[in-house]
Protein backbone atom coordinates (compact mmCIF):
# COMPACT_ATOMS: atom_id res chain seq x y z
CA UNK A 1 0.00 0.00 0.00
CA UNK A 2 2.79 2.44 0.98
CA UNK A 3 4.68 1.58 -2.20
CA UNK A 4 1.56 2.35 -4.24
CA UNK A 5 0.98 5.67 -2.42
CA UNK A 6 4.65 6.61 -2.91
CA UNK A 7 4.26 5.76 -6.61
CA UNK A 8 1.16 7.97 -6.91
CA UNK A 9 2.99 10.84 -5.20
CA UNK A 10 5.93 10.34 -7.56
CA UNK A 11 3.93 10.37 -10.79
CA UNK A 12 2.06 13.49 -9.71
CA UNK A 13 5.27 15.01 -8.34
CA UNK A 14 3.45 15.77 -5.10
CA UNK A 15 6.24 14.96 -2.61
CA UNK A 16 7.38 18.60 -2.61
CA UNK A 17 3.82 19.84 -2.09
CA UNK A 18 3.39 17.48 0.88
CA UNK A 19 6.65 18.71 2.42
CA UNK A 20 5.53 22.31 1.99
CA UNK A 21 2.11 21.61 3.49
CA UNK A 22 3.70 19.81 6.45
CA UNK A 23 6.13 22.64 7.22
CA UNK A 24 3.69 25.50 6.55
CA UNK A 25 0.90 24.07 8.67
CA UNK A 26 3.36 22.75 11.24
CA UNK A 27 4.56 26.33 11.68
CA UNK A 28 0.96 27.47 11.93
CA UNK A 29 0.34 24.96 14.71
CA UNK A 30 3.50 25.80 16.63
CA UNK A 31 3.12 29.57 16.37
CA UNK A 32 -0.60 29.49 17.21
CA UNK A 33 0.07 27.44 20.35
CA UNK A 34 3.02 29.67 21.22
CA UNK A 35 0.84 32.74 20.76
CA UNK A 36 -1.97 31.36 22.90
CA UNK A 37 0.33 30.23 25.69
CA UNK A 38 2.27 33.53 25.74
CA UNK A 39 -1.14 35.24 25.80
CA UNK A 40 -2.06 33.25 28.91
CA UNK A 41 1.35 34.06 30.44
CA UNK A 42 1.00 37.82 29.96
CA UNK A 43 -2.70 37.88 30.83
CA UNK A 44 -4.42 37.37 34.15
CA UNK A 45 -3.81 33.93 35.72
CA UNK A 46 -6.05 31.23 34.25
CA UNK A 47 -6.81 27.68 35.33
CA UNK A 48 -4.75 25.04 33.55
CA UNK A 49 -7.91 23.27 32.36
CA UNK A 50 -9.04 26.49 30.68
CA UNK A 51 -5.64 26.89 28.95
CA UNK A 52 -5.79 23.28 27.74
CA UNK A 53 -9.37 23.70 26.51
CA UNK A 54 -8.59 26.86 24.55
CA UNK A 55 -5.36 25.46 23.04
CA UNK A 56 -6.97 22.13 22.15
CA UNK A 57 -9.90 23.90 20.48
CA UNK A 58 -7.47 25.96 18.41
CA UNK A 59 -5.53 22.79 17.48
CA UNK A 60 -8.72 21.03 16.36
CA UNK A 61 -9.76 24.07 14.34
CA UNK A 62 -6.31 24.19 12.68
CA UNK A 63 -6.56 20.48 11.91
CA UNK A 64 -10.02 20.68 10.36
CA UNK A 65 -9.07 23.81 8.44
CA UNK A 66 -5.90 22.09 7.21
CA UNK A 67 -7.73 18.96 6.07
CA UNK A 68 -10.58 20.75 4.30
CA UNK A 69 -8.56 23.50 2.62
CA UNK A 70 -5.88 21.12 1.34
CA UNK A 71 -8.44 18.58 0.12
CA UNK A 72 -10.49 21.12 -1.80
CA UNK A 73 -7.50 22.82 -3.43
CA UNK A 74 -5.57 19.62 -4.19
CA UNK A 75 -8.63 17.83 -5.61
CA UNK A 76 -9.21 20.76 -7.99
CA UNK A 77 -5.51 20.86 -8.92
CA UNK A 78 -5.31 17.09 -9.56
CA UNK A 79 -8.49 17.11 -11.69
CA UNK A 80 -7.07 19.96 -13.77
CA UNK A 81 -3.77 18.12 -14.28
CA UNK A 82 -5.60 14.91 -15.27
CA UNK A 83 -7.74 16.79 -17.76
CA UNK A 84 -4.66 18.37 -19.35
CA UNK A 85 -2.93 14.99 -19.54
CA UNK A 86 -6.02 13.31 -21.01
CA UNK A 87 -6.16 16.01 -23.69
CA UNK A 88 -2.49 15.42 -24.52
CA UNK A 89 -2.92 11.62 -24.54
CA UNK A 90 -6.31 11.75 -26.28
CA UNK A 91 -7.52 8.99 -23.97
CA UNK A 92 -9.46 8.48 -20.74
CA UNK A 93 -7.03 7.98 -17.84
CA UNK A 94 -9.70 7.33 -15.20
CA UNK A 95 -8.63 3.69 -14.72
CA UNK A 96 -4.91 4.43 -14.77
CA UNK A 97 -2.52 5.31 -11.96
CA UNK A 98 -3.17 8.96 -12.83
CA UNK A 99 -6.87 8.40 -12.16
CA UNK A 100 -6.00 6.74 -8.82
CA UNK A 101 -3.82 9.74 -8.01
CA UNK A 102 -6.77 12.11 -8.51
CA UNK A 103 -8.66 10.11 -5.87
CA UNK A 104 -5.86 9.44 -3.37
CA UNK A 105 -3.34 12.29 -3.52
CA UNK A 106 -5.83 14.96 -2.28
CA UNK A 107 -6.78 12.69 0.67
CA UNK A 108 -3.13 12.08 1.55
CA UNK A 109 -2.25 15.75 1.20
CA UNK A 110 -5.24 16.74 3.32
CA UNK A 111 -4.21 14.28 6.05
CA UNK A 112 -0.65 15.64 6.13
CA UNK A 113 -1.88 19.23 6.09
CA UNK A 114 -4.37 18.60 8.88
CA UNK A 115 -2.26 16.34 11.05
CA UNK A 116 0.89 18.50 11.07
CA UNK A 117 -0.57 21.33 13.21
CA UNK A 118 -2.51 18.88 15.40
CA UNK A 119 0.53 16.70 16.16
CA UNK A 120 2.74 19.69 16.84
CA UNK A 121 0.07 21.30 19.02
CA UNK A 122 -0.41 18.09 21.01
CA UNK A 123 3.34 17.89 21.65
CA UNK A 124 3.35 21.50 22.84
CA UNK A 125 0.39 20.83 25.14
CA UNK A 126 2.01 17.76 26.72
CA UNK A 127 3.45 19.61 29.79
CA UNK A 128 0.03 21.15 30.44
CA UNK A 129 -1.64 17.73 30.42
CA UNK A 130 1.07 16.18 32.56
CA UNK A 131 0.83 18.99 35.08
CA UNK A 132 -2.97 18.82 35.05
CA UNK A 133 -2.74 15.08 35.72
CA UNK A 134 -0.47 15.75 38.72
CA UNK A 135 2.78 14.65 37.08
CA UNK A 136 5.75 16.77 38.14
CA UNK A 137 7.25 18.84 35.28
CA UNK A 138 10.71 20.46 35.54
CA UNK A 139 9.47 23.93 34.61
CA UNK A 140 6.12 25.64 35.28
CA UNK A 141 3.78 24.00 32.69
CA UNK A 142 3.20 27.09 30.53
CA UNK A 143 6.94 27.81 30.38
CA UNK A 144 7.66 24.17 29.54
CA UNK A 145 5.16 24.39 26.67
CA UNK A 146 6.85 27.54 25.38
CA UNK A 147 10.23 25.74 25.45
CA UNK A 148 8.77 22.79 23.51
CA UNK A 149 7.14 25.16 20.99
CA UNK A 150 10.44 26.96 20.41
CA UNK A 151 12.24 23.62 20.11
CA UNK A 152 9.74 22.34 17.52
CA UNK A 153 9.97 25.54 15.49
CA UNK A 154 13.76 25.14 15.55
CA UNK A 155 13.39 21.51 14.34
CA UNK A 156 11.06 22.60 11.51
CA UNK A 157 13.75 25.08 10.48
CA UNK A 158 16.36 22.32 10.64
CA UNK A 159 14.15 20.16 8.41
CA UNK A 160 13.77 23.03 5.92
CA UNK A 161 17.55 23.48 5.90
CA UNK A 162 17.94 19.77 5.21
CA UNK A 163 15.41 19.95 2.33
CA UNK A 164 17.07 23.04 0.83
CA UNK A 165 20.56 21.58 1.27
CA UNK A 166 21.72 24.61 3.26
CA UNK A 167 23.13 24.89 6.80
CA UNK A 168 20.59 23.20 9.11
CA UNK A 169 21.86 25.20 12.06
CA UNK A 170 21.37 28.52 10.30
CA UNK A 171 17.94 27.50 9.01
CA UNK A 172 16.93 26.29 12.47
CA UNK A 173 17.99 29.54 14.09
CA UNK A 174 16.17 31.58 11.42
CA UNK A 175 12.95 29.74 12.28
CA UNK A 176 13.65 30.19 15.97
CA UNK A 177 14.12 33.93 15.44
CA UNK A 178 10.65 34.09 13.85
CA UNK A 179 9.15 32.39 16.88
CA UNK A 180 11.02 34.75 19.23
CA UNK A 181 9.83 37.73 17.18
CA UNK A 182 6.25 36.45 17.51
CA UNK A 183 6.76 36.18 21.27
CA UNK A 184 8.20 39.71 21.36
CA UNK A 185 5.26 41.12 19.39
CA UNK A 186 2.75 39.47 21.72
CA UNK A 187 4.55 40.91 24.77
CA UNK A 188 4.64 44.31 23.04
CA UNK A 189 0.97 44.48 22.10
CA UNK A 190 -0.76 42.20 24.60
CA UNK A 191 1.54 42.49 27.61
CA UNK A 192 0.56 44.66 30.56
Amino acid sequence: MWTQLAFLLRITRSEGIMRRYFVVNGFDGALTMLGLIIGFLVGPPAQLSLVIGVCLSAAIALGVSGVSSAYVSEAAERKRSLKQLEEAMVTDLGDSAHGDAVRWVPILTALVNGSAPVMISLLILTPLWLSDAGVAVLLPPLHASVVIALGLVFLLGVYLGHVAGISWLRSGFQALMLALMTTGLIYLFAGN
Binding site: R10, I11, L85, A88, V90, L93, D95, A97, H98
Partner: protein, 89 residues
Protein backbone atom coordinates in the same frame (compact mmCIF):
# COMPACT_ATOMS: atom_id res chain seq x y z
CA UNK B 1 0.18 -24.77 -28.68
CA UNK B 2 0.86 -21.36 -30.18
CA UNK B 3 2.90 -18.96 -28.08
CA UNK B 4 3.90 -15.34 -28.63
CA UNK B 5 7.67 -15.00 -28.23
CA UNK B 6 8.22 -11.34 -29.05
CA UNK B 7 6.18 -8.17 -29.60
CA UNK B 8 7.19 -4.63 -30.50
CA UNK B 9 4.64 -2.04 -29.40
CA UNK B 10 4.16 1.60 -30.26
CA UNK B 11 3.04 3.38 -27.11
CA UNK B 12 2.23 6.94 -26.09
CA UNK B 13 2.97 7.70 -22.45
CA UNK B 14 2.97 10.73 -20.13
CA UNK B 15 6.39 11.85 -18.80
CA UNK B 16 5.47 10.30 -15.43
CA UNK B 17 5.80 7.44 -14.58
CA UNK B 18 9.25 7.31 -16.12
CA UNK B 19 10.19 4.85 -18.87
CA UNK B 20 12.15 2.78 -16.37
CA UNK B 21 9.05 2.32 -14.19
CA UNK B 22 6.91 1.36 -17.16
CA UNK B 23 9.52 -1.16 -18.33
CA UNK B 24 9.74 -2.58 -14.81
CA UNK B 25 5.95 -2.90 -14.57
CA UNK B 26 5.91 -4.96 -17.78
CA UNK B 27 8.93 -7.04 -16.75
CA UNK B 28 7.20 -7.93 -13.48
CA UNK B 29 4.46 -9.80 -15.39
CA UNK B 30 6.62 -12.88 -15.89
CA UNK B 31 9.95 -14.17 -14.60
CA UNK B 32 11.48 -14.57 -18.05
CA UNK B 33 10.15 -11.30 -19.47
CA UNK B 34 12.82 -9.18 -21.12
CA UNK B 35 11.81 -5.60 -21.89
CA UNK B 36 13.60 -3.15 -24.14
CA UNK B 37 12.22 0.38 -24.26
CA UNK B 38 13.25 3.09 -26.71
CA UNK B 39 12.08 6.70 -26.59
CA UNK B 40 11.30 7.87 -30.10
CA UNK B 41 9.84 11.32 -29.58
CA UNK B 42 9.42 13.66 -26.64
CA UNK B 43 6.59 16.19 -26.57
CA UNK B 44 5.53 18.79 -24.00
CA UNK B 45 3.37 16.33 -22.04
CA UNK B 46 3.96 12.97 -23.69
CA UNK B 47 6.60 10.59 -25.07
CA UNK B 48 6.26 8.19 -27.98
CA UNK B 49 8.08 4.98 -27.17
CA UNK B 50 8.73 1.57 -28.65
CA UNK B 51 8.56 -1.37 -26.27
CA UNK B 52 10.03 -4.71 -27.22
CA UNK B 53 9.03 -7.62 -25.01
CA UNK B 54 10.49 -11.11 -25.31
CA UNK B 55 9.52 -14.18 -23.29
CA UNK B 56 8.75 -17.88 -23.71
CA UNK B 57 5.01 -17.21 -23.70
CA UNK B 58 3.91 -13.58 -23.66
CA UNK B 59 0.64 -12.74 -21.93
CA UNK B 60 -0.36 -9.87 -24.20
CA UNK B 61 -3.46 -8.87 -22.23
CA UNK B 62 -1.38 -8.50 -19.06
CA UNK B 63 1.08 -6.26 -20.93
CA UNK B 64 -1.79 -4.14 -22.27
CA UNK B 65 -3.27 -3.86 -18.76
CA UNK B 66 0.13 -2.81 -17.32
CA UNK B 67 0.51 -0.16 -20.02
CA UNK B 68 -3.00 1.19 -19.38
CA UNK B 69 -2.49 1.14 -15.60
CA UNK B 70 0.63 3.29 -16.01
CA UNK B 71 -1.44 5.89 -17.87
CA UNK B 72 0.03 5.03 -21.27
CA UNK B 73 -1.87 4.18 -24.46
CA UNK B 74 -1.07 1.35 -26.86
CA UNK B 75 -1.16 2.75 -30.39
CA UNK B 76 -0.15 -0.26 -32.44
CA UNK B 77 1.54 -3.64 -32.47
CA UNK B 78 4.44 -3.12 -34.88
CA UNK B 79 6.12 -6.55 -34.80
CA UNK B 80 5.14 -10.01 -33.56
CA UNK B 81 7.07 -13.30 -33.33
CA UNK B 82 4.82 -16.30 -32.77
CA UNK B 83 5.78 -19.97 -32.55
CA UNK B 84 3.45 -22.86 -33.14
CA UNK B 85 3.97 -26.04 -31.14
CA UNK B 86 2.66 -29.58 -31.65
CA UNK B 87 -1.10 -29.88 -31.58
CA UNK B 88 -2.61 -31.74 -28.59
CA UNK B 89 -5.84 -32.59 -30.41
Amino acid sequence: MVSVKRVVLDVLKPHHPKSLELAQAIAEIGEDYRVRLMVEEVDENTETIKIEVTAEAIDFEAIEAAITKMGAALHSIDEVDVEGGPSHA
